[in-house]
Symmetry: C3
Subunit: 199 residues, 3 copies
């Protein structure tokens, strides 16, 4: 008893506490810091998360969310794409293989074309064919392949229910494996995400 | 005094500290961990925050920032929209009810239209009328209503001062209830946000 | 020794711990919270970070990532711009001074123009000239100046290697001072960023 008391007081030069008390306090601090951080949502064992919005239905703007989300999944991040408005075309059965890129109002087109030519019938088809050809030669998977890869690798594909209502789109028109939700669900998911992008 | 000392030393098998001391230390640790996290800015009592940029002045791209910001506010998040360049049209008195959607260079338009037709006079008006009609039927509030709702629910509407200078826009041309600031203010607000999106 | 023991037990009315124990706990909490946060990647001494994507090659959409990144750097934030697809035009030697803005499919153009006029030859050149003139009068630096400022102030300019492959662009065609990398590098950087934007 006396020994212990002594230990409590001056275990070593420069310290006023016993090793037992120091150890106990240190352990308490460690546990409570971990508990408090977890309670605060700062659970850093959790994976990084990317919450992407796909709002465009052109071929060129369908790639970025799919490439980023599948790359994120390959890096063991959580990833979700929220398809809204024009972006719904990307998950429409009849559209996803036929997304187009208009050679219009875009002076940065790889093969630039005056707008007065770009607006002619057939030019959208030609620009689309060219882009698909470049993508293929560059080793970029097609949109259907990226969608399959996304689903197989746990990327959540969420469709904006409001957009479906507004555009009169039915579930049967869309591919399998989708979730249906609203802006609130996106915000809820994104609020804990590390990367949020509107494409 | 002796009692206390005894308690300090061997309260139970395997423990060198009394339950009282352990409890007290635990509580002290809990309080101090909370204080330290707060001091470090990890105050998790603070609400989630969405920092959105509205850079487009078309009807279709006016909806996303307003819908997301008002949904965020309804979920008790902090939200701000930073209106820049073309996006200033959304808060211009004479424009906000007359935003338009061009049926051009967008193969994902719900009623697709060849560009050679879409560029004809009257087609933008028709596409705009159609989109407003769909939105109404789908139960989506109008842009003026979304702006009112945003203001009433604490969404901060911040106008890019540099864009005003560049475009020669005067405050009188804009709706009431706006703040005026620059990119630095956006970055400062966004640096502590959980969701950042460029629309 | 007795003095110390006494201090350990009842240093003051209302406290059962000695000042020494309280001091030790405070110090332990401070050190361990800092250590734990660092281990969790929550290094609060680190600067804020902005991770921007530049995916458009028009003059109007070249400004936002450059203005935001340089403003961030001026605020001592870390900043990087990831140039992808059309966005590569912004760092192409032959293009960066000649980015254009098409007066088409954009009813929010400061000087609105029917699409049937906007698509005429010469109209893109005129709209581009007008925008450059406004920017100059508004005191906004040119794109080349913004790029120089970005490089001088530590903004990382990262080019999407996959886009180069797809578009057949060679390093010699691009300005100096760039890094070359892929979507994974962007995601890795962005996962620890505070602001992430897709322009």
């Amino acid at each position: 008893m006396n020994n212990r008391n002594a230990a409590l007081v001056t275990p070593a030069e420069g310290s006023v506490l016993s090793p037992e008390v120091e150890t106990f306090i240190s352990e308490q601090v460690r546990l409570q810091v971990a508990a408090e951080l977890k309670r605060l949502g700062l659970d850093l064992a959790r994976p990084k998360r990317a919450a992407l919005i796909a709002s465009k239905g052109t071929l060129d703007m369908a790639y970025p969310p799919l490439i980023l989300a599948t790359a994120a999944a390959a890096m063991d991040m959580e990833a979700a794409i929220f398809f809204t408005f024009y972006g719904l075309d990307i998950v429409k059965k009849k559209k996803l293989s036929n997304l187009k890129v208009p050679p219009l109002a875009n002076p940065a087109m790889p093969v630039p074309m005056p707008n007065i030519i770009g607006m002619l019938p057939g030019m959208t088809r030609m620009a689309t064919w060219m882009m698909k050809d470049w993508m293929k030669k560059g080793g970029v998977p097609s949109i259907p392949d990226l969608l399959d890869f996304a689903k197989e690798n746990g990327v959540r594909l969420i469709v904006c229910q409001m957009s479906m209502d507004v555009l009169g789109i039915k579930k049967e028109e869309l591919i399998d494996g989708l979730e249906f939700s609203g802006a609130a669900a996106y915000l809820d998911y994104a609020a804990d995400a590390d990367i949020t992008l509107f494409v």
